[in-house]
Amino acid sequence: MRYFILLFLILLSHSLWSQKFITLRLDPDNSRGGTASQVFDSIRFIPLETTKESLFGAIDQMEVTDSLFVILDIRGHSILLFDRSGKFYTRITTGGGEKYFYYFSIDRSKNEIVATNNYANGLLVYDLRGRFLRKEKCPDNIASFYHFSGNSVLYNLRRKGTYESSDHILYDLCYSHGYDSVVKNLKPYNARNEANEYNISSNPFNFSGEAGSCMFSMPFEYSIYQLADTGVICKYQFVFPLLHSLPLNFATDGAYRSLRGKFAYNTPGNESMITALERGCRFGDYMLFSAISRQSTFSADFNMAYNLHTSSLISFSRVTGDSSSSYFPILSTQLERVDAIYDGKIFSSSPGFRLFAIKNSLDKKVEYPESLQKYFTNGKKTDNAVIVQFKLKPGL
């Protein structure tokens, strides 16, 4: 009997370990704030060099390695490489016109940059010097992907815009051995009820901040999945107050078919509803994420951190800058998001015009770090963005 109970406990713990389900109840209206020195640690500003060759539009996606910042600027048709001090290294370009890169991932075991695109019928592979290596075949309709070690790739497949006439089951995720050998599908959906009615402003994959796993979320759903190369290891289910919530089963209920986009993005009165969770990632005890809604004021709650131990919720729009951040706010609006987590640090960015505007509006004397002093003296508001590197203090 004892052995039976022990076996049962081992199996139970194994299943719990193999897939966790955590419900997070959050009320953004009662989220906490603070000052930069109370919330952040080790803040560093790294301006990205601005020259004719290195000028780019926006940081749509960023990955960090030991020596590089790798930045995707979709509308600029480019992936740019800067060294960790912000000096420009090189630019990979699609050639312009109607050719775009949409997403990239770094295969850290091979030191390769792999990019999705709309013109090459396959993934394009570059080394960390920006040189083209080869093209790789891959499944059709890739939206984004993630490299695990051991030659395993996790793909997010793009949903179609049209509906099937029958109850056809399709999948959002699939695992592949190498780039073109799908071995397992995940996250099914009924094509009759669900299709592509959303406008993603960011990519659904991100580092989790924990080795060997990544995070994934879909618009209209309040779930963030943590995945390893074996499958889902944790599902974070978010619950918001009614005021901020889409109707129950909004993403899956066939009654909302072909009405979701208009309801979420163009119906008056629905501005406070959270329509998507993006850039979910783990940083120690914290779950960081962005809550997307139509509220566009600067004080709207957008980037947040939830402490999984204490259940406390911090909204970064309520964290005011102080001398430790040179009075700049960090992660406070849609313009400053979590771009990457690497080596125990969080990386965000701020566009040039925002920094100049804040600096000019301050009526205090501020001691800027040397990197920012040079930026403000020699630069202008149309220069490249500035990377902000920091950590979160524990126990918030």
Binding site: G33, G57, E98, Y327
Partner: protein, 953 residues
């Protein structure tokens, strides 16, 4: 490619509102200190941005200063009196308002009040007394100004309150800007007020009826930062949402001058009614209800007077008019997503006119020969028009139904008697005539237009047609003209040409015009979605079909001298039916190229081409067989163009446009097959059945620059339009020995035209000084061919007329707060006509008007207005002449009664008595100068009462 654009919308809104951190503060003249502090929610540990901070005098609550906290939750207010007991109140939506008393010590004028903590709750103060709402607060995306926080004169109106709001500027020309951006609409309780004219709302609604003024951006398309509008909404207090206002006036003056007016407007939350009427003999004309409402507001119109005596109107005029306006909202909701509204208005106008004109026209008919025609005319006319218009709009979500109906009725009675004498080059009399015309013209018109628009919501993944619209319009007109013409013509060289006519006309015309228009598109997302090669393509289908029928029944009778009865003129009496079918299908293909650097600029280049065809069929059936024709034309009428837009965030917007168009104009029935009415002695027109359609090649180029810098706006632009017409409808004129002209229309190549225009607007504001400068310049060049055959050698010769017109107007508006306004306008027009071919001659005329208007408000009750215009007209070339006169009008106004709603106005018009009725113009072959009677100096006293009541008490 939608995913980056949401950011841009946010940035745009940021740029618009970031300037509001620089709030103007009410200055107390003894202020010597400053107050700073911060506002925090300690429970949630965060500093509140955009919290409202107000400082009042503790003793009487007078507002001293107000501001909002910045991004660090801090505030700083300067100009605060020291030593005085003050009260600071801090409020934020969803939190309890906190107030505390304090005093700035004289020895420490930079006072740090420290941190003020707010706690969640309702916005009552800690002692549960409802406090005055803060002067300004941010509620979501809307900036709200509370009217109660601003103390103004008891008779102040909405306009006076708007002038106090930071970032809001009311310009001299009537536009309203918020942080440099012109507002697209001004609403009252979320809806347009009496047709949407801002002055009717801002100059009538008392400040005491206003709860708050809201300023917000409406983003119509969340994916396009340029597609947003600024709106001001005046929210009325709960018990003031209905009321009435109006103006009753009566005035009398010298020379039998009078003016009367009555306007009354009533409004309630769902309905608005206005009743207007006026009568005068001082040339004040109004064409619609809106003009009378706009120009009879309680506040008064100031220097820029639109509805005023028109001293250039010919003749003596006596007019009376009236009308009403009614609007009703069937649904309580009225916004860009949903509305259901009916608007009806009606206007009746009666005008009696007596014009006495004496002119001389000189026409060149050869290198050494000219004809001079002296004309004297005595015209008496009565015009009566009535119209009724209705508009219904139902808009819900993606669909909009609009119905427009209009009925117009016009009766025109004219009696005209005149004499003409024509002399040759030596001055000898060649011919002359005496004319008496009388006619009564009645016409009715009914127009109805219905349109249905569907604007669907689409994303990159929408695979269906989301935009289309269809419009149908029908217009039915009928006109009846009864007239009698008596003419006695004498020819000196050939008395056999002497004629007398006593002719009666009974003309009846009925037309029915119908048009059906459709627009379908854009098809490309449906057809090519996801295909990279076809990205940026646009495909639209359009179609316009019109069918017009014109029936004409003319019965003409001539008096038989023997029987003394009127006998049918079988040549001129006719029945005809003219129909035109015009079908224009159009396939528009376009491609747009984007060059975007996120947060810096957005550049778009669009190329488009219209593959457009025209099927045109015209048919005329008549009792005279020689007037009948049936022509069908199939034409290819393509169009192509380029558009380039450069938008720099927070800086500027440049738009360039180049367009080429090919089109055809078709001859009218009269140009093809007119019946020659010989009673039009000096000007006969014949038809030409061989006329071909005129082909027009036209190129246009436009440029516009708008600067988006806050406060001081700057815009300029230029345009060019040029074209060539092949088979131009030119005049072929034959002049006989008696000086009578007979015209035929012929096709001739060689017509060219070019129009250039440019404009510039610049505005400055500094404290209470506002200056607006605007420059408009237009130049036109044209070359017109024609044939001329004179009685000297009876040979038809090609004659070309080159015309050049240029008009430049510079206006400057200056206002100093509420006290003084001035308006200076300088306008110069130049006209030159040069003939080449049969003879060479040049006729040139320069007209210049310099106008200065000044208004001074000495007190709230007494104002003076004066405007002076110096007019000059100089003609050079043949027939040189010059006219100069100064027109000076002045008025003094005084308001009585505690509510300032009784006004006495004393006016002096044309003080210098120099107004001249000068006629001076030229065209292809002749020029005319002369005099006409018009309004002269008079003095008038007018009393106006403004009845008003807002709310039940």
């Amino acid at each position: 490619m939608n995913f980056c654009i949401k950011k841009h919308a946010g940035i745009f809104i940021v740029t618009l509102f970031s300037g509001l951190s620089l709030f103007s503060q009410v200055k107390d003249t003894t202020a010597v200190g400053s107050v700073k502090g911060s506002v925090k929610d300690t429970a949630l540990n965060y500093f509140l941005q955009s919290a409202s901070v107000t400082i009042n005098r503790a003793s009487d609550g007078t507002l001293i200063a107000y501001s909002m906290t910045n991004g660090l939750g801090e505030f700083s207010l300067k100009g605060i009196p020291t030593g005085l007991l003050l009260k600071i109140s801090v409020s934020y939506v969803g939190y309890r308002t906190v107030s505390q008393s304090f005093r700035i010590p004289a020895d420490n004028p930079c006072f740090n009040i420290g941190r003020i903590d707010l706690v969640k709750g309702t916005e009552h103060s800690e002692d549960s007394v409802i406090v005055t709402p803060p002067p300004v607060r941010m509620k979501g995306d809307t900036l709200e100004f509370s009217a109660a926080a601003f103390s103004l004169d008891k008779n102040a109106v909405a306009e006076d309150l708007l002038k106090k709001l930071p970032g809001v500027i009311l310009w001299g020309d009537g536009t309203i800007t918020v942080n440099g951006k012109q507002i697209s609409k001004l609403l009252v309780d979320g809806k347009p007020f009496f047709g949407g004219d801002t002055k009717v709302a801002t100059q009538n609604i008392p400040k005491s009826s206003i709860d708050k003024i809201q300023v917000y951006q409406e983003q119509l398309n969340i994916f396009d930062p340029l597609d947003s509008t600024s709106t001001i909404n005046i929210k009325l207090r709960k018990n003031k949402q209905s009321g009435y206002f109006g103006a009753l006036s009566a005035g009398g003056g010298t020379d039998g001058r009078y003016e009367l007016g009555a306007n009354n407007s009533l409004f309630s939350p769902r309905s608005q009614y206005a009743l207007v009427g006026q009568g005068n003999n001082i040339n004040k004309t109004a064409g619609d209800v809106g003009t009378l409402l706009r120009n009879n507001t309680y506040k008064g119109v100031g220097v820029r007077v639109e509805y005023q005596p028109d001293f250039s109107l010919q003749g003596r005029n006596q007019s009376s008019s009236g009308g009403f306006l009614y609007s009703h909202d069937f649904s309580p909701v009225y916004n860009d997503y949903e509305k259901n509204q009916l608007l009806v208005n009606s206007f009746i106008n009666h005008n009696d006119n007596i014009t006495i004109k004496n002119t001389q026209t000189v026409s060149y008919i050869g290198s050494q020969s000219a004809l001079t025609q002296d004309n004297s005319d005595n015209l008496k006319s009565t015009i009566e028009t009535r119209n009724l218009n209705g508009r219904y709009v139902k808009h819900k979500g993606e669909n909009t139904l609009t119905l427009n109906g209009a009925y117009n009725d016009k009766k025109n009675s004219i009696q005209d008697s005149g004499r003409n004498e024509v002399r040759g080059s030596g001055g000898a009399l060649i011919s002359g005539d005496l004319e008496h015309d009388s006619s009564v013209n009645r016409s009715h018109a009914f127009d109805f237009k219905s349109s249905f628009d569907h604007n669907g919501f689409s994303t990159a993944n929408t695979h269906k047609l989301t935009t289309w619209d269809i419009t149908h319009s029908i217009s039915i007109r009928s006109g009846k003209k009864d007239s009698a013409v008596q003419t006695d013509f004498t020819s000196v060289p050939d008395p056999l040409l002497n004629r007398s006519y006593d002719r009666r006309y009974d003309n009846d015309a009925r037309t029915v015009n119908q048009t059906l228009s459709m627009r379908l598109g854009d098809f490309s997302s449906w057809l090519f979605s996801g295909n990279r090669r076809f990205a940026g393509f646009h495909i639209q289908l359009k179609n316009d079909l019109s069918y017009n029928i014109a029936n004409q029944d003319n019965a003409i009778r001539d008096r038989d001298p023997l029987s003394k009865t009127y006998v049918i003129n079988t040549y001129l009496t006719t029945n005809s039916r003219y129909t035109v079918l015009n079908e224009v299908p159009d396939l528009r293909l376009g491609k747009t190229f984007f060059n975007v650097l996120a947060n810096r600029y957005q550049k778009e280049l669009s190329l488009y081409a219209d593959a457009r065809a025209q099927l045109y069929n015209e048919r005329n059936a008549s009792t005279h067989k020689f007037q009948e024709f049936d022509n069908t034309y199939r034409q290819w009428i393509p169009s192509a163009g380029v558009e380039y837009t450069n938008f720099r965030y927070g800086e500027l917007l440049d738009k360039y446009n180049l367009n080429f168009d090919l089109s055809y104009d078709y001859p009218t029935v009269d140009q093809r097959a007119a019946l020659i009415d010989s009673s039009n002695i000096y000007s006969l027109r014949g038809g030409n059945l061989l006329l071909m359609p005129m082909k027009k090649y036209e190129l246009s180029a436009k440029f516009r620059h708008d600067s988006y810098r806050l406060k001081n706006t700057f815009a300029y632009g230029a345009g060019l339009l040029g074209g060539i017409r092949d088979h131009y409808f030119a005049d072929s004129a034959i002049i006989d020995q008696s000086g009578r002209y007979t015209y035929y229309t012929v096709n001739l190549n060689g017509n060219k035209y070019l129009t250039m225009n440019l404009f510039l607007n610049k505005a400055f504001v500094s404290n209470s000084h506002q200056v607006q400068i605007s420059l408009i310049s237009v130049a036109q060049l044209s070359r017109t061919p024609g044939y001329l055959q004179n009685a000297v050698d009876n040979k038809a010769r090609l004659n070309t007329t080159d015309l050049f017109l240029n008009s430049d107007t510079l206006s400057v508006y200056y206002t100093l707060g509420d006290i003084f306004s001035a308006n200076l306008i300088q306008s110069i027009s130049y006209f030159r006509s040069r003939q080449k071919g049969l003879y060479s001659s040049v006729f040139a005329n320069t007209q210049s008007i310099s106008r200065l208007g000044i208004g001074v408000n000495f007190t709230k009750k007494f104002s003076l207005y004066s405007n002076v215009s110096y007019n000059s007209s100089v003609t050079s070339g043949s027939g040189a002449a010059s006219y100069r006169f100064t027109l000076w009008n002045a008025s003094a106004l005084y308001r009585f009664l505690p509510a300032n709603n009784l006004e006495l106005k004393v006016s002096a018009l044309d003080l210098l008595n120099q107004n001249k009725g000068v006629i001076n113009y030229g065209n292809n072959l002749s020029y005319t100068h002369g005099t006409v009677n018009l309004l002269h100096q008079y003095f008038m006293m007018t009393l106006t009462y403004y009845p008003r009541k807002f709310g039940k008490k």
